[in-house]
């Protein structure tokens, strides 16, 4: 299990992040004592750090530099600061990515899994793989497996399927799917989403995964 340290002083935001990340199978720890983030960092030894910039006592840049003295762990800045100056500073001080507030949880989880893949996939091949019943999705190679059969997906289809798998059979609304695809800079509209879903269904049918994606009329989709 990958561990994520959340350094965010707004309790509501950090608790929602924690709840989500736990649901998606990550271990999390929220920093409580902002005067000594390093101690909690050292005790928890996370795989990824989510770091806000505006913090009590010291700012995120300071803690980023401190963490870098100890470790090469990926650091993702999450901040309401939106000037180029702040983003450049974040990256040059050792940050790996920068997410601007307000952000969506789908974007955050997508970025975290991408960063985990980049940082740890050499040592851990399972990180690229997601499973739902008999269906196995390799997000890195854009392939779906079922038994000994396999099929190739497009980038969009892969994004849709991974979001459905992550939600473990719960409803994913069309809004949310479209938003997740837009966050990834592929701009699909309602019709295109339907087309993508149908194509994805056909591909799954071909390898014997029939009726895996269920339409909830007027709302969205879920896996069965």
């Amino acid at each position: 299990m990958y561990k994520i340290l959340i350094v965010e002083d707004d309790r509501i935001i950090s608790s929602i992040m924690e709840e989500h990340l736990v649901k998606w199978g990550y271990g999390t720890c929220r920093v409580q004592e902002f005067s000594d983030v390093i101690a909690e960092f050292a005790a928890f030894d996370p795989h990824v750090v989510l770091l806000d910039i505006n913090l009590p006592y010291y700012d995120g840049f300071y803690w980023c530099a401190k963490i870098r003295e100890l470790s090469n762990v990926p650091i993702v800045f999450i901040s309401s600061r939106d000037t180029d100056g702040d983003k450049i500073r974040a990256i040059t001080q050792g940050g790996d990515d920068y997410i601007e507030k307000p952000f969506s949880m789908d974007l955050l989880t997508a970025k975290i899994s991408a960063i985990l893949r980049r940082a740890y996939s050499f040592s851990d091949q399972t990180i690229n793989v997601m499973q739902h019943k008999d269906m196995v999705l390799n997000v890195e190679r854009l392939q779906v497996f079922s038994g000994d059969k396999e099929t190739e997906l497009t980038k969009n289809e892969c994004r849709i399927l991974s979001l459905l798998i992550r939600n473990q059979g719960n409803l994913v609304t069309r809004n949310r799917l479209i938003k997740a695809l837009w966050d990834d800079e592929s701009f699909v509209d309602d019709n295109t989403l339907t087309v993508n879903i149908n194509r994805l269904r056909r591909k799954l049918d071909e390898i014997g995964l029939e009726e895996y994606i269920k339409t909830i009329k007027g709302e969205g989709y879920r896996l069965t």
């Binding site: 707004d10 935001i13 180029d84 507030k101 307000p102 609304t173």
Partner: protein, 342 residues
């Protein structure tokens, strides 16, 4: 100081001299018993003329120098020279007055600048602060999405989005006033600009089931990424507001010689001929109804101002009742020239 102005300044002196001269001539002509040889008379006249000529030259020169010195004194903001350096008492008094005015003005200016800087700092901080509860509200809403009625979710989402838009407007408004501190011209791909501008609008495309189509190639333009992105996002925001349910929005990039144009076209009612000339003006809102968001009459005005500062061209076209097209044109040579000129 020209000679004419000098004469206007000295008119009373010359009028006096003229009358004194006239008086002398009259006395000379009227008094037949006055015994003065005509050679002597012309001698006096010539001497007198020479003296007058010398007086005019010296006085004009003197006057011009005084005026020049005083002007220089004022132009140097009365800082280096002291008022005591002037010879004439009237100049000394004026110089003191000017110096007082200037120091008063300098104080006022520095106070205003400090205040403006403080306000700027406050607003920037406030923008960061207010984004925290907004992101929290967004996250709360998002986590409840599958439990909430769709209409409630959409309305809340739209309202939060319009708060975010308003905050961005504050940000860009204060930035336009400080344009020179904060811009970075670089080569940006049109595809990237469009992608940046479209972010955040996904929900409106999905609520109103608007079709989107992105056409044309990917070109490089010279611009500031953030500012141009904002202009395009205003076009998109507008297009989304005016677009009918299940309408379509076409975003196209085209290159023509040295000019690259990104246009955003939406179908719908379009803009009437009488409105189209006003569309970039401050506070201008169409009288017609629109759904999907309130009009502030500020977004396009701000875009136009930003476009002017960057040296890009903004254009609105419409065929009434069918569609409206907004376009942003970058021209290769002009852009750099304009900006460096600033």
């Amino acid at each position: 100081m020209s000679f004419i102005n000098y004469l206007k300044e000295r008119w009373i002196t010359y009028l006096f001299l003229f009358f004194a001269f006239l008086f002398a001539i009259m006395v000379y002509l009227l008094d037949s018993r006055m015994n003065i040889r005509s050679s002597n008379a012309s001698y006096i006249l010539i001497g007198w003329s020479l003296l007058l000529f010398a007086f005019v030259i010296i006085d004009f020169h003197n006057f011009r120098e005084r005026a020049k010195k005083f002007r220089e004194y004022c132009q140097l903001n009365a800082s280096s020279d002291s008022a005591e350096d002037f010879t004439y008492p009237y100049d000394i008094a004026n110089a003191a007055l000017v110096s007082e005015l200037i120091s008063g003005y300098e104080n006022y200016r520095s106070e205003t600048e400090t205040k403006a800087a403080e306000e700027m700092e406050f607003i920037t901080k406030w923008i960061h602060d207010v984004k925290v509860p907004i992101s929290a509200a967004r996250l709360i809403l998002e986590t409840q999405e599958d439990k909430l009625p769709a209409e409630f979710y959409q309305n809340m989402d739209a309202e939060i989005f319009s708060i975010e838009e308003s905050i961005m407007r504050v940000f860009y408004e204060i930035k336009t006033n400080r344009f020179f501190d904060d811009y970075k011209i670089s080569r940006v791909s049109t595809k990237k600009l469009i992608a940046q501008a479209l972010k955040g609008y996904s929900n409106f495309f999905s609520y109103k089931r608007i079709r989107i189509s992105i056409r044309g190639g990917d070109y490089e333009v010279l611009t500031d990424e953030k500012w141009s992105g904002y202009i395009l996002s205003q076009f998109i925001s507008n297009a989304v507001k005016y677009s009918p349910e299940e309408g379509s929005i076409i975003i196209a990039s085209a290159k023509d010689g040295t000019e690259t144009t990104i246009s955003v076209k939406n179908d719908g009612k379009g803009i009437s001929d009488k409105d189209i000339g006003q569309i970039f003006k401050k506070g201008y809102t169409s009288s017609e109804n629109r759904d999907g968001g309130k009009a502030t009459g500020y977004g396009l005005y701000l875009s136009k101002r930003l476009g002017d500062l960057l040296g890009h061209r903004l254009k609105a076209e419409s065929s009434y009742g069918e569609s409206a097209t907004f376009s942003l044109t970058f021209s290769e040579n002009e852009t750099l020239h304009q900006v460096t000129k600033l």
